[in-house]
Structures are given as structure tokens and as C-alpha cells.
């Protein structure tokens, strides 16, 4: 029976790759373990090994093809005497690749996800500040972040980026792609492995008047740098009586990715939002990622810029403007509605928007607010919405106690109590360290169903 060879996944978050080269040609006999092709992803090159034995009957995806989705059949292996043009393989065999269960990203509620489809382009309402008639281009969050840094580095020679693997390797998640080639090793600096060390170095360089962008490979590793961030970066202006300011951006992926366990999956939004002197940004769309990162680099204060690994590959419409800078501290109404207010940010928006779609089918119109900035928080935008809806649910991947949702609840109690028709509910991650196994990881994270359930509770449906 002909067996399909599927496009393999190199990692749980990989969604597509380039078929760089066929090592075997049609008619070649392949044995288990033979290298049959080479695949390139944004991270690495890998060899595809045959698991089954037979003859390479047909190549379905020619070499040089870009952006082949994971689990797409790329070739057919035949047993002796079989015909490649006979009936298509009745059963795809995923043995060479990650099976579908693995290929689907770990946060299965995100829109990315069908194992064979490329990540969808997510339509969101454009920012009201974008002039009418502006052309839009589709780009990933990854590209938007890179463009924001490149534009600001071209504009201002004091801006530079440093961190682990940012130069030669082009970033552990390829956010600094091409920057070394354009700006050279003095402005795109590979550092020794010490977050505490290079965060301190960045603070010192900022005190000397430069504008560092410090990339943490993930914010999980920034925990050892938190003393530099909080006790030095955030407080220097205050402690120096306003003399020494610290214009610095600390950026990198925050929160859960997929299958990276307890120490690599933590959401730090509420941690940093607690600190006077810091501004905390957590964008969802590519347009916001670009406009807010540019604003962050120009801001004279220390900024925590929280990205999300799952969102890096998601595509959005981004306004084609020469200098697209967004205001820090402004929320955006991502979807209008009258029955309930959903408040979220970053990857939490994927749950909120999906839940809003589902709820609309059931006759509940949810208004979805994308906070975009956690601190300063656009509390007036939340209150204005709650005045209309009378009900509110917050959505975040972080833990419940002292989370960002807890702050929103407190703000509404203080400032909008009389407008509320139901208690405000929080949808959060479970109160456990993140497990590694996919089934447990899925349960530890919030889900679209959790959001729908909470909305029904506050709307008494």
C-alpha cells in the first residue's frame, strides 16, 4: 500500500517550513533511517529520515518549495510493484513526522492550529489613529517586531539590541533576523549567558544615554535579572532626584509556549505591573506589536515589552505607514458588543475573540477590549464599556491570585460598582506550575469554554 511521507514538525510550535532539498530521487530504494530530504525552518535545518521501506514513488512537493505546512504529504513510498498514480494512499502515515496530536500547537484554543493549514490572517479592527485610506500589508508579529527595531535603529544611532543569540543566530526565535547584517556587531550584540549581567549592563548603558533594547530569550530567564529591572531600572530616576533616567526596553517572549514545562511557561504581566516606574506592554496583533515597540524604544522610561512565542507566527494586517507609532497606555475595542465586556491582552485575546464569536451565535454580544498596555492601565476604557454592558469577565493565562484580572476587578469595584449587574469573574490559568505533557498543559491553561462559561454565569444564562 502506498505510504505518504508527511512534512515533519521540528518542534511543537512549527507550523510550516521550506523543502530545501530532495536527497533521494524518484525510483530510489529507501530503507528505514535513510535521509530522504532536507527541510528548513525559521530556526534550523533538519533531515527527514524514512521510517518505512520501499521505493520513492512520487515527489509531491518539489525542492525549493517555501512554506510547506506541517503534515502536508510531500512524497509517496511504494512497495515493490506498486504504481504511484494508483489510488491515493488511503491512510496517511505520520511516522516520519510529529503526529498530528503533537503538531497542533499546545494552546489548542489559539486560532493557529489546524495541523495542515498555515496560521490564519486574523482580522482585527484597525486602530482609530490610522488615517482613512491607508494601505495595509499582511505580516507576522515576528516581522513586525523586527521592523520596529530596524526602523528605530535607522532613525537613532543610540538604539542598539543585545541579548543571548541575537546576532549570529538571528535571535533564538528569529526576532532579530537580519539586524546583525544591517547594523553590525557593535549594535547587535551577542552577550555572555547572564541575564543579571546584561540587564545591569543595559541599565548602565541607558544611564550613559544610549537606548538599549535588551532581549531576554524568554522572560522566564529574566527572573535572575529582576533586581536590576526593579531596583535599578525602575527606580533610578526617582532615587537620583530626577537626574538620571533610564531609557531601556526589556523585551522577549512571555507566558506559555508549548511543551516547555514549569520553568519556561510563566506569565510575568502581573509581576511587572506591580512596579512604579515601569511601563508594561503586552500586544496581541502585529500592528500593535510594531506601533508599541517603536513607542517603547522612544519612551524615556524603562519598558517591559511582553511578547508571546505562539503569536510570533500569527499574521495580521499592519498599516503601511512610514512611521507607525502608537500611544502607550491606550486600550483598543477589538469587537463591539452590548451584553458583556471581555478584557484581555496578548495571547489571552485569542480565547476572548473566539469565545465572542461563539457567544454571538448564542445571542450574546460581547465587547472585547484589548488592553495592549498593562501599566499604565486604560481603566477609563474598561469603565466606559462596563457602563454599557454591566458585566465583565477578564481573561489571562497567568495565575489568579494578585493577577492582572484581580487589579481590573478592584478598579471596577472602586469606580464602577453602581454599573455592575453581576460580580466580575476572572478566567485564568490553574493554580499549579505548568506541566509538560500536552494533555495536562492544555488543562492548566484557560480555554474558550472557560470564557464562555464565565460569560454565561455573569449574564445569568
Amino acid at each position: 500500500m502506498p505510504i505518504d511521507i508527511l512534512m515533519p514538525a521540528l518542534s511543537p510550535t512549527m507550523e510550516k517550513g521550506n523543502l530545501a532539498k530532495w536527497v533521494k530521487k524518484v525510483g530510489d530504494t529507501v530503507k528505514s533511517g535513510d535521509i530522504i530530504a532536507e527541510i528548513e525552518t525559521d530556526k534550523a535545518t533538519m533531515e527527514v529520515e524514512a521510517v518505512d521501506e520501499g521505493i520513492l514513488g512520487k515527489i509531491l512537493v518539489p525542492e525549493g518549495t517555501q512554506d510547506v505546512a506541517v503534515n502536508t504529504p510531500i512524497a509517496v513510498i511504494l512497495a515493490e510493484g506498486e504504481d504511484a498514480n494508483a489510488a491515493p494512499a488511503p491512510q496517511q502515515k505520520a511516522a516520519e513526522s510529529a503526529p498530528p496530536a503533537v503538531a497542533a500547537p499546545a494552546a489548542p484554543q489559539t486560532p493557529a492550529p489546524s495541523a495542515v493549514a498555515a496560521p490564519p490572517v486574523v482580522a482585527v479592527q484597525p486602530d482609530p489613529d490610522v488615517p482613512a485610506g491607508t494601505e495595509f500589508v499582511t505580516m507576522t508579529v515576528r516581522e513586525a517586531l523586527r521592523d520596529a527595531m530596524a526602523e528605530e535603529m535607522r532613525r537613532d544611532g543610540d538604539v542598539f539590541v543585545m541579548g543571548e543569540e541575537v546576532a549570529e543566530y538571528q535571535g533564538a526565535y528569529k526576532i532579530t533576523q537580519g539586524l546583525l547584517q544591517e547594523f553590525g556587531p557593535k549594535r547587535v550584540v551577542d552577550t555572555p549567558i547572564t541575564e543579571h549581567g546584561f540587564a545591569g549592563l543595559g541599565v548602565g548603558a541607558a544611564m550613559a544615554g544610549l537606548k538599549p533594547i535588551v532581549e531576554f530569550m524568554t522572560f522566564n530567564f529574566a527572573m535572575q535579572a529582576i533586581d536590576q529591572i526593579i531596583n535599578s531600572a525602575a527606580k533610578t530616576l526617582y532615587m537620583s532626584g530626577g537626574q538620571v533616567h533610564c531609557s531601556i526596553v526589556f523585551r522577549g517572549p512571555n507566558g506559555a509556549a508549548a511543551r516547555v514545562g514549569a520553568q519556561h511557561s510563566q506569565d510575568y504581566a502581573s509581576w511587572y505591573s506591580h512596579i512604579p516606574g515601569l511601563k508594561v506592554i503586552a500586544p496581541y496583533s502585529a500592528a500593535d506589536a510594531k506601533g508599541l515597540l517603536k513607542a517603547a524604544i522612544r519612551d524615556p522610561n524603562p519598558i517591559i515589552f511582553l511578547e508571546n512565542e505562539i503569536l510570533y507566527g500569527h499574521s495580521f494586517e499592519v498599516p503601511k505607514l512610514d512611521d507607525y507609532v502608537l500611544p502607550i497606555g491606550k486600550a483598543r475595542i477589538a469587537r463591539s458588543g452590548k451584553d458583556v465586556t471581555l478584557v484581555s491582552w496578548s495571547i489571552g485575546m485569542t480565547y476572548a475573540l473566539k469565545a465572542a464569536d461563539e457567544l454571538a451565535k448564542q445571542g450574546i454580544e460581547a465587547e472585547v477590549i484589548d488592553l495592549r498596555t498593562i501599566r499604565p492601565m486604560d481603566v477609563p476604557a474598561i469603565i466606559e464599556s462596563v457602563k454599557k454592558t454591566g458585566r465583565c469577565v477578564t481573561v489571562e493565562e497567568g495565575w489568579p491570585q494578585s493577577g492582572v484580572g484581580a487589579e481590573i476587578v478592584a478598579q471596577l469595584m472602586e469606580k464602577a460598582f453602581d454599573y455592575l449587574d453581576a460580580p466580575v469573574l476572572r478566567v485564568t490559568g490553574k493554580d499549579v506550575p505548568m506541566p509538560y505533557a500536552a494533555n495536562l498543559e492544555k488543562l492548566a491553561l484557560p480555554s474558550v469554554a472557560d470564557v464562555i462559561e464565565a460569560v454565561k454565569a455573569v449574564t445569568y444564562r
Binding site: 515533519p8 514538525a9 521540528l10 518542534s11 511543537p12 533511517g33 530556526k43 534550523a44 535545518t45 533538519m46 533531515e47 527527514v48 529520515e49 521510517v51 505520520a94 511516522a95 516520519e96 513526522s97 510529529a98 503526529p99 496530536a101 503533537v102 503538531a103 543571548e164 543569540e165 549570529e168 543566530y169 533564538a172 556587531p185 557593535k186 550584540v189 551577542d190 552577550t191 555572555p192 549567558i193 547572564t194 543579571h196 549581567g197 522566564n220 527572573m223 535572575q224 508549548a258 511543551r259 516547555v260 514545562g261 514549569a262 520553568q263 519556561h264 490553574k430 493554580d431 499549579v432 506550575p433 506541566p435 509538560y436 505533557a437 500536552a438 494533555n439 495536562l440 488543562l443 492548566a444
Partner: protein, 414 residues
């Protein structure tokens, strides 16, 4: 800039770069490789200063003809040598199998130790079985040399029903209290301070066990490395502190961590502790240096810093592609050779081994790995399951489950 007149050149920022990049021909001719057997072996109670030339030189025992030479020859019996060889060959076979399993979707991630097998295996044999190990992620050879079941390690990598860590840890983050192998941390360097703390506790209790820790060249830049050396030196902790200098921290060459200016071993001298720089691909040298440090620690002589000079022959992990940042084929030209080949040649040279026996050993080890693989895969893989029950997710957050977690578990209906 100041306004003062100046006739000095402008300040210039120095950025370290490796000698060779992709597209260049591999070339290690700039690397000074001292002769085997040339360095002295001080007594284990010698002062730290007596190790000065050992921190800048390279302790080597095996010569080009497979002979053991010089005062560092540990004079091991052939049975122990064959045991070491077997564990190294088994470790390599295990790595090969697990990388293939990752490519087939049976796990999401794997890290090989190819070319560095002598580090963990010789050190495991030089330590006592009860000594506590605080490794980083490339010392799977410790478990293999301590005869820990391969199937159990595989179950961890597959996160399957047999995984004793209950599906909570990333692949290769093994943990076995019984095997003296602590729970690996993904945050680099933290284990170094912890090993010193463990060793100090052992001394506090009047125990006879010592601790050993491993860190890569890259992670010596972490504060934890320096904290650990301070405490180990001040309190003369019974600990063996190892730096595995495999030349590469993912894509950053060892110069990025400060390897251009001095050796990693020499950092120990600044803390007043003896420091040994060892040919990490020389099984006998690794064994001898580790035994020296372990004996010293066990007799209240305090800590030793050992730099194991080796080469990461494979990718950093299954998510890495070294062809992007170093010349292809560099690993085959590493001037200190392959640790398995070198120990094999030594055994052949002393008449205790043959090409035929070696080929049979390799086949036997591959078969052992195959058998273990079948045993482990019968309990599931990451792709196929069965996975751990969701009910287990709320266990072990605290020693006793608090009411709010009990409620969360009930709400989840598990």
C-alpha cells in the same frame, strides 16, 4: 566627549569573534595541544598554588599510540576500562536512538552528548555511587554509568505512562534521587550554588558523601557560577566543580564567555581553590583528575575546579542547526579525537580488546537500546499517549493539597 585636547586614539569597542565561520575550512592549528604525560601530579593535600600550571596546561594521559603515560595515569584494571567503554558506547547508542525518536514525533526535544561521553562516564566511575550529582543537560552518561535503566530514562523523554516525573518535565530533564541525580533545571547555572549547599550540608551532618556539579563554558558567565565558587572556597565545601568547555553555547563560541582571555580552570585559582584543566576526550585523564578532586574533597581538603576541554560534536539540541554558525565537519577534525575511539585504541594497545570485540559491543549496545526502546514505547510516547491522568496535575504543588486546589480539581471534573 570631553573638550580637552587629546592626541590619544578614540576608544574602540572590542567584540570577540570565533576564528572560523560557516564557509571557512575548519582549522584548529591555532590551538596549543600540550604533550600527554608532561604535567606533574601534586599530592591531594597540596596547596592550591601547586596546581597553577595545571590550570593553564592540559592534563593528558593517552598518547597518539593509545599508551597511558605520565604521573596522571590512574592505572585502572582492564575490567574497569571495559566498563567505561561499554557505558560510553551505550550512551552514544541511546543518543542516536532518541534523536531518531524525536524526528519521528515520539518526543518534542532531545539533546545528545556526542563527543563528550568521557566526561560523564569517567567521572561517574571516579565518584562513589552515593555521591550527589548536580549535572546540566548533557551528562546523561552519569545515569548510564550508574546502571540506571535506559527504559526509565526513555519514559521521561516520552512523557508517557511510565514517566516517574508524571509528565511535568521537559525531555532529558531526568531526576533520580536513588541514582544521586538531582532534578535538572532549565535555568542555567542554578545547580552550581545548590551543589555547594548540598556539600556543605553533608559536611554539617558529618556524612561521607560529596557533591559534584557540572556547568557549560557558556553558563560560567552566570552569577551562580561565581557565587558557588565564593561559597565553596570560603567554607571549603566537599564538592567537585566541573566546567565542561565544549567550545559552543548554542551558537556562541567559548570566547563570548571569556575563554579568550584565560582558561576556565584558571578562574578557580582566583578563589584560592585548586584548578585542573583536563583533556575531556581522554577517559584516563578525566578519571584521574576527578579522582584526585574527589579524594581531596572527601578528606576535608575542600573544593576543586576542573575544566574538561572537549568539543560538542553534535547540535546543541534537536532545535539547533550548527551549520549556521560553525564550519561543517569541524567535529571530525577536533585535535583531541573521539573519546570512545581513544579508549578503544588504548585497550587494544594493552592487549585487552580487539576490533572484533568492539564491533560486537557496539551491536550489543544497539540491541540493548532497541530492547529498552520497545519496553518504553509499550508505555506510550508523546505522540501516542497514554498520558498521565489530569487528576495528577494538582498533586505535588504543595506537600499536602490545599482546599483551593482540591476545588479546582473537582471543578475540572477529574
Amino acid at each position: 566627549m570631553t573638550d580637552a585636547p587629546r592626541n590619544l586614539p578614540r576608544l574602540a569597542l572590542y567584540i570577540p569573534e570565533p576564528a572560523r565561520r560557516p564557509g571557512d575550512a575548519p582549522d584548529f592549528s591555532g590551538l596549543a595541544i600540550p604533550e600527554p604525560g608532561a604535567l606533574p601530579r601534586p599530592d591531594i593535600d597540596a596547596p592550591a598554588e601547586a596546581t597553577r600550571e595545571l590550570a593553564y596546561g592540559l592534563i593528558r594521559v593517552l598518547d597518539g599510540d593509545g599508551r597511558a603515560v605520565g604521573p596522571w595515569d590512574p592505572r585502572l584494571d582492564p575490567q574497569t576500562l571495559r566498563r567505561g567503554l561499554r557505558a560510553m558506547v551505550l550512551t552514544r547508542a541511546y543518543d542516536e536512538r532518541m534523536v531518531r525518536a524525536q524526528r519521528q514525533g515520539k518526543t518534542s526535544f532531545y539533546m545528545k552528548c556526542t563527543g563528550e561521553e568521557a566526561v560523564a562516564v569517567a567521572q561517574a566511575l571516579a565518584l562513589n555511587r552515593e555521591d550527589m550529582c548536580f549535572p546540566t543537560y548533557r551528562q546523561q552518561g552519569l545515569l548510564v554509568a550508574r546502571d540506571w535503566p535506559l527504559a526509565d530514562m526513555m519514559c521521561q523523554v516520552y512523557s508517557n505512562a511510565g514517566d516517574r516525573l508524571k509528565g511535568r518535565q521537559m525531555p532529558v530533564f531526568y531526576s533520580s534521587k536513588e541514582a544521586g541525580f538531582f532534578s535538572i533545571s532549565g535555568n542555567l547555572g542554578t545547580q552550581y550554588s545548590q551543589a555547594v549547599g548540598w556539600a556543605m550540608a553533608s559536611a554539617y551532618k558529618g556524612d561521607d558523601r560529596i557533591a559534584a556539579a557540572w556547568v557549560g563554558d557558556g553558563a560560567t558567565a552566570e552569577g551562580d557560577f561565581h557565587h558557588a565558587l565564593t561559597f565553596a572556597s570560603v567554607y571549603r565545601a566537599p564538592v567537585v566543580l566541573n566546567v565542561v568547555n565544549n567550545q559552543w553555547a548554542i551558537s556562541s563560541f567559548q570566547g563570548i564567555a571569556g575563554g579568550e582571555a584565560t582558561t576556565f580552570a584558571a578562574r578557580g585559582l582566583g578563589f584560592g581553590m585548586p584548578a585542573l584543566r583536563v583533556d575531556g576526550n581522554d577517559f584516563l585523564a578525566v578519571y584521574a583528575a576527578t579522582r584526585w578532586a574527589a579524594d581531596r574533597a572527601r578528606t576535608n581538603g575542600g573544593p576543586t575546579l576542573i575544566e574538561l576541554f572537549t568539543y560538542r560534536a553534535s547540535a546543541h539540541s534537536t532545535s539547533d542547526d550548527p551549520s549556521k554558525y560553525r564550519p561543517a565537519g569541524e567535529e571530525s577534525l577536533w585535535p583531541l579525537g573521539d573519546p570512545i575511539d581513544r579508549l578503544r585504541d588504548h585497550l587494544v594497545a594493552i592487549g585487552e580488546w580487539s576490533a572484533e570485540r568492539h564491533a560486537a559491543l557496539e551491536e550489543e549496545m544497539r540491541e540493548e537500546v532497541r530492547r529498552a526502546g520497545q519496553e518504553a514505547e509499550a508505555l506510550g510516547t508523546l505522540g501516542t499517549g497514554p498520558a498521565h491522568s489530569p487528576a495528577t496535575m494538582f498533586d505535588d504543588v504543595f506537600k499536602e493539597m490545599p482546599w483551593h486546589l482540591r476545588r479546582q480539581r473537582q471543578e475540572l471534573g477529574v
